[in-house]
Amino acid sequence: MAETEVAGLAPATGQTTARWNVLLIVEAVVLVVALALPMVMPDYLTVFATRVAILALFALSFDLVWGYAGIMSFGQALFFGAAGYGVALLGRDLNISNLLIVLPVGVLIGFAFALLLGGFLLLGRHPTSMIFVALGTLTGSYAADRLARGWYYLGGQNGIPSIPSMTLGSYELDEGPVFYYFALALLVVVYLLCRFLVRSQFGLALAGLRENETRIAFFGYKTQHLKAIVFAIGGAIAGLAGSLYAFHEGFVWPNMVGVVISTQVVLYVLFGGSGTLIGAVIGTVIIEGVSFWLSDNYREIWPIILGVLLLFVIMFRPLGLISFVLSERERVGRFGIGPQKGDHGAS
């Protein structure tokens, strides 16, 4: 009997390990390629790659909120752009550009805005519907866009130009390989933190939230609180991305808080594959890369080509590009330690 149990356990363990390896391999390949890029690319492409890395960080924020907690935020740019404007004002009005100050401030702004909006949209007595949250966040993003365009202090339509470079002591962090590796390091750290979170018992609660919110409320989970917490964490990550973006581009403008970028981040994640983290990164890289290449080579029709490509992937591969290599089982993941050799009845 004992032998049967042990023998029965072995293949299952082996399969699980093999499945996990696919995700690890994909992550490792993406990291190695990302590390090597500045060594093989001209500087102008390194600047482009930095922008993509920052947008990938932004995409992680949406994947956490939608892919793991099932909260459809159509206003994620609100937190991204609000943080961008916040650090731009710090630079312009107070001449503060030290990254040890501006980045935490950006994170806090994103967190605070998400907590406020999330508190309003998610913390009712009864769980709110997906459409209510989607429209609420979309409206928030649209309203912020209109506000930024009409507020002279924020530069109106032109936004805030000529933001000083981000600094660390006397060192100025300008666009180029150093900024790229800095953005990449932040992306990796945030990615690992998100990975830790979504594979923890908290991640299991999020999986329950995404799969059947009503059911887990009857277990005793405070589902609205869970949602508000994840939404605020997503806002904080978007805030970090927004503040980096503002310093990298050197200016902020109303589009940064608006519906266009809010929709863009949804596409990054859906295209790459939601609920996987790495899918969000891959989706961002491919959409931005293809857009860059198409706009260079097919100036007249590139948005149409890109639109059709996105439509095809989302229609015929609803779990995103990552689902070509990642099984559903691995996408969902495993949270408990699972049956062990000594467990009676386990196979």
Partner: protein
């Protein structure tokens, strides 16, 4: 003192009065069946007790405290657990993770983030799976189970947090005769630590496992008593048992 006491429960949906002053009293370690013809208000009363619906009038008290205004999560934390009429296991998760999800529901946020209870809850997860004859499928996704096994998994999930009161809404719906018999066997041992309210159409099943019955008809209590008393009740026989 009764563990659960629902009194004068009225529930109105628009122009429809689903419950017109229903009452339910369940003692500690009692298995209580809620029966009645279709549309008599059994599931609505169950939902009012569990917190899925708020009564228009009336009150529900549990372990001496008024819980009428509490949310489902607060009721669960007070020791009440519900198995839905429609199977609500989480199909993409493994059986193991389904049980773990139910067991960790009352852990603190920090414990969840740091996965502090993952190892400590392992034995409880395996015990629940063994108790419900599902241990050999622990790694499988819940979607791979048969309908009857999914019902067992859901009962195991509902029992995982060791509730004082378990509410089962049609637990044997869609099961074979053999699966119904096994379900009865699986439920019998929980009587030592848990009361049960069960809504069920299978009267043989109800007779076999329940101590007391409440019969609802058109949103009101027609009769309440021991199984023998209900079986002997002429009014019940007229409106319900004879039809069955």
């Amino acid at each position: 003192m009764a563990l659960l006491e629902a009194t004068g429960v009225v529930k109105v949906f628009g122009k429809l009065t689903a419950l017109g002053g229903a009452a339910l009293s369940v003692a500690e370690n009692e298995f209580h069946g809620l029966i009645g013809p279709n549309g008599s208000g059994k599931s609505t009363l169950m939902k009012c007790v569990a917190g899925a619906e708020t009564p228009t009038e009336g009150s529900v008290s549990f372990a001496g405290a008024d819980i009428t205004a509490l949310s489902p999560a607060e009721r669960a934390r007070a020791g009440m657990s519900l198995k839905f009429q429609i199977t609500s296991v989480l199909p993409a998760l493994s059986l193991y993770d389904n049980i773990l999800l139910a067991l960790q529901a009352q852990a603190s946020l920090l414990d969840l983030v740091l996965s502090r209870t993952r190892r400590a809850l392992h034995d409880q997860v395996m015990t629940m799976l063994q108790q419900f004859r599902l241990a050999d499928r622990a790694r499988d996704p819940a979607s791979a189970l048969s309908h009857g096994q999914q019902q067992w998994l859901e009962i195991a999930m509902a029992l995982a947090s060791k509730p004082r009161l378990l509410l089962l809404d049609e637990p044997t719906g869609g099961m074979s005769l053999e699966e119904r018999r096994v379900t009865g066997e699986l439920l019998a041992p929980i009587k030592q630590h848990c009361s049960l309210v069960i809504v069920e159409h299978d009267l043989d099943f109800i007779r076999d496992i329940c101590d007391r019955l409440t019969v609802l008809d058109q949103g009101k209590v027609l009769a309440s008593g021991t199984v023998a008393e209900i079986q002997a009740s002429k009014s019940v026989q007229e409106i319900y048992l004879r039809r069955a």
